[in-house]
Symmetry: C2
Subunit: 103 residues, 2 copies
């Protein structure tokens, strides 16, 4: 399993559009083979800060996400709305390790 935690800072005037585009990306991503979670979160203290929590069953499945039409559309659509470049951190899972929890 691999989990990429992405932090995105969005300009105030584009927050609603960002949420719409990211929910669309979420709706497609959760249908990908190997996708376990694709959570979209917004910071309570700083509503311009978003976290995407992208869990896949393998690094291959995670890489394939970046080749999908919906990812490429999302990436190009939201790029001009960002306050600074987004940061993605890839992780291995320490706990929980049972795959049932990740479904």
């Amino acid at each position: 399993m691999i989990v990429t935690v992405v932090t995105v800072y969005v300009k105030e005037e584009f927050r609603d559009e960002f949420i719409n585009a990211t929910v669309e990306n979420h709706n497609h991503s959760i249908k990908e083979e190997g996708n376990l979670r694709f959570d979209v979160l917004q910071s309570m203290d700083n509503p311009g800060r978003f976290t995407l929590y992208e869990a896949y069953s393998s690094s291959e499945a995670s890489k394939k996400h970046k080749e999908t039409a919906h990812y490429l559309k999302w990436r190009d659509t939201v790029a001009p709305w960002m306050d600074k470049p987004r940061e993605g951190i890839a992780h291995r899972v320490i706990a929980p390790l049972d795959k049932e929890t990740w479904k």
Copy 2:
């Protein structure tokens, strides 16, 4: 629902102890009322960087976690092992909103 994403940097010589203490905290935390997830992750590029993904059904349940014996034990145990103060960011959930996915 509320998700707190905690970033922890751990000194190299204490990584194994940190993992053990955090898995113990995980094992207790997932049994708390209102806990939805308590994922423990380690950065692939920087094995001294850890992410805790703590999802609760309400902010009350999230607050109660910080009053539990296992949280307080973890906090005091790992504090001297950290390279810098940990950062916790509280989030609201944008997607998915169906509670079944979070179980």
